[in-house]
């Protein structure tokens, strides 16, 4: 039983490490920004969740105490990763994409970042484009 549990923990740790390194490597390797956005927000979050669950099981089994912190961190990361990705994608759309390259929204309003009423704060920000 001890042996089986140790193997499960080791497998969770190794899977988490592989996912994390794939995510960080994708951040270096993928060609465009929107593709690079996917690597850390999906793969790294999954790897971190795996490692945190391994830690929770470890303390449950070896120290005989249940610690809910890891579960809370995992839930928090899984909830906030899509919000972060959405914000970064929005910033990227705003800075590096030309308005004419975007598809039509299909509804009555424009893309929110290019809406003249919304983007009236600082029009200079629209002109310093990144290469993407």
């Amino acid at each position: 039983m001890d042996q089986i549990f140790e193997y499960i923990l080791a497998a969770l740790l190794v899977i988490g490490g592989i996912f994390a390194i794939v995510g960080s490597f994708g951040l270096l390797k993928l060609p465009t920004m929107m593709q690079r956005l996917h690597a850390p927000t999906k793969a790294t979050t999954l790897g971190v969740g795996s490692a945190l669950i391994a830690s929770m099981l470890y303390f449950w089994f070896y120290e005989n105490k249940v610690s809910w912190h890891e579960l809370m961190i995992t839930l928090f990361l899984f909830l906030t990763a899509p919000i972060t990705a959405n914000f970064i994608a929005k910033a990227q759309l705003h800075r590096a994409t030309d308005k004419s390259d975007l598809p039509p929204t299909g509804v009555g309003t424009e893309w929110a970042t290019f809406d003249p009423e919304v983007s009236s704060v600082n029009p200079d920000l629209l002109h310093d484009r990144d290469p993407g």
Partner: protein
């Protein structure tokens, strides 16, 4: 026994990921890449803290990890907001 090797492997993976993120912070084509790399660095450091807690067998570091997660999320959103609007709280 095998758990120690797996823990070493996980330390190595997350540390290497951290080094890659650091390279991306310094060499990036655009500012959104840097924001993304900083966000990933926060996540990797948080996991290193938790793995260190596993290695030492003490649970005192988990509050620090939780605080890292929260401040990382808030700072990423604030930085994106600043890039997007030129202001954080309008």
């Amino acid at each position: 026994m095998i758990l120690n090797y797996a823990l070493d492997f996980a330390f190595l993976c997350f540390g290497l990921g951290l080094a890659m993120n650091l390279y991306r912070v310094f060499r990036a084509p655009g500012v959104t890449d840097r924001i993304l790399a900083l966000d990933t660095m926060v996540i990797n450091v948080l996991t290193l803290i938790v793995l260190y807690g596993m290695r030492t067998g003490s649970g005192v570091n988990f509050e620090a990890a939780l605080l890292f997660a929260m401040t990382g999320f808030v700072s990423t959103v604030a930085y994106c907001k600043f890039v997007l609007r030129g202001d954080i709280i309008e």
